[in-house]
């Protein structure tokens, strides 16, 4: 039986099989460390905001949206840098990311809309 996992399918045209040199490695590692510091900082900011600002504070809605933006930022860096999606072909990026922008956003919208309706019914009859 053939073991197709043994075959290198992703040979780039120059035949280097996705390898890179020591010098390239240094700059790649530098980028990784930068992203590490950024992700850590974002987490620290999130925890400080969450611990200091109470949910009944008047600026809470603003903080909530800040959390969402920071979460998307973190997720973006993990996917684009750590998972190397940023280095893939443009259309592979679209194939992977576009479903979320369509389905998840739609699902969030429809679920929250529906939940609001259900809550108003429950409140009315309780």
């Amino acid at each position: 039986m053939e073991r197709d996992d043994l075959i290198e399918y992703s040979l780039p045209q120059d035949g280097k099989a996705g390898l890179h040199s020591e010098d390239e490695g240094i700059s790649i590692r530098k980028k990784i460390y930068k992203v590490t510091i950024l992700l850590t900082l974002v987490t620290v900011i999130e925890v400080v905001l969450g611990a200091v600002i109470k949910q009944d504070a008047s600026i809470w809605p603003f903080i909530k949206w800040t959390f969402l933006v920071l979460t998307i930022l973190k997720a973006g860096y993990i996917v684009m840098v750590f998972m190397h999606l940023g280095d893939e072909r443009k259309w592979l990026r679209y194939v992977i990311l576009v479903p979320y922008f369509i389905f998840i956003l739609y699902l969030i919208f429809i679920a929250l809309w529906e939940a609001t309706a259900i809550k108003s019914v429950l409140t009315y009859f309780s």
Partner: protein, 343 residues
């Protein structure tokens, strides 16, 4: 078996002479798996949002629910989960460094970074175990139904129980016996079953005992469900000082069953609505299961690296593929962290 690799090059495999998206079959399939897995998690988190949005009861607040640290006790909001998040991010970094070392065919580098990743993964799974234990075990005060029918969670430092002194003998204990073992457990069981009346506890054998207990500190009631007197409105929900102490112990020592709930299970929990604990167990459990399987896969791949399997193959693509899965686990945690703990 060996020798196949040379015969099958990219030209014979793909009619277009390169693989789709210039990515290998394995990596592409891993991406497709991750897309579907991410949709599962998306569905779970959206249903969580749905339930939270239409819930009539007040939903628990992360910083009030999760404020314990190992060895330090209570009063450290979100610190522990921040540490868990940090551990997972760092293990993601060591994984991407392993992939980078693989691109340089640095076998020793790959081995070391993968071992670091596995250790980080075990730390995270262990932390989640502690978190679950604490969540199930609950606080020392529990959630209490006050005399007017309102329901409140309780914060503060529980004064230590010193002993029970038997005042009325039962089947086992004699009058004047001083009990010093298993106090907290007995106390909580009796309180939940309504076996404490006016500060007198009825023990398992039917004997009655008085409770010697140190004073609580900074006892605060946070009303979650309005009753006749105490309201869960933003301005009034916190009750402190002597009044809080009086209301709490009046309810705890009322002799009525089910006035207090300690910890969490699938039927009830001290933090909020029933669905809250169910979602907590399912979503963090499903994520924890992903982390655990990720660690196992990492160990298997690491053994392959040590054995030199991938080095002989000429590339470390297996490390890249398992790396994709590991980063995905980190990615999901970023969202779980936001929706369960922050918002």
């Amino acid at each position: 078996m060996a020798g196949h690799t040379a015969a099958l090059d990219s030209k014979t495999l793909w009619g277009g002479e390169i693989s789709p998206f210039s990515t290998s079959y394995g990596k592409l399939m891993m991406w497709f798996f991750l897309v579907s897995d991410a949709l599962s998690f998306g569905g779970l988190l959206i249903s969580y949002g749905f339930t939270r949005h239409d819930c009539l009861e007040a939903w628990p607040i992360g910083e009030e629910t999760f404020n314990s640290m190992p060895f330090l006790g209570h009063g450290y909001p979100l610190l522990y989960v921040a540490l868990m998040t940090f551990i997972l991010i760092i293990s993601s970094v060591t994984m991407v460094l392993a992939v980078e070392a693989g691109h340089r065919m640095d076998r020793k580098g790959v081995t070391n970074w993968m071992i670091a990743t596995i250790i980080g993964g075990f730390f995270f799974v262990g932390s989640q175990g502690w978190e679950w234990y604490h969540f199930i075990h609950g606080s020392e005060f529990g959630k209490i139904e006050l005399a007017d029918g309102s329901v409140a969670i309780v914060k503060g430092h529980f004064g230590e129980i010193k002993n029970f002194t038997v005042t009325k003998p039962g089947n086992h204990h004699k009058e004047g016996d001083v009990i010093k073992e298993d106090l907290m457990h007995t106390f909580q069981h009796a309180a939940a079953a309504g076996h404490i009346n006016n500060g007198i506890i009825t023990l398992h054998d039917g004997s009655k005992a008085s409770i010697t207990k140190e004073k609580d500190h900074e006892l605060t009631l946070i009303v979650k469900k309005s009753g006749k007197v105490n309201k869960a409105s933003k301005a009034k929900r916190k009750i402190t000082g002597v009044k809080a102490e009086k209301l709490y112990y009046e309810a705890l020592y009322s002799g009525e069953a089910n006035r207090v709930i300690y910890g969490a299970n699938l039927k009830q929990n001290e933090y909020g609505p029933q669905q809250y604990a169910q979602f907590f167990f399912f979503i963090t459990g499903f994520h924890g299961f992903h982390v655990f399987s990720g660690v196992i896969i990492n160990i298997i791949i690491c053994l392959g690296v040590v054995a030199g399997t991938y080095h002989k193959r000429g590339h470390y693509e297996m490390v890249e593929k398992t790396g994709l899965y590991w980063h995905f686990v980190d990615l999901v945690w970023v969202f779980v962290f936001t929706f369960f703990y922050l918002i």
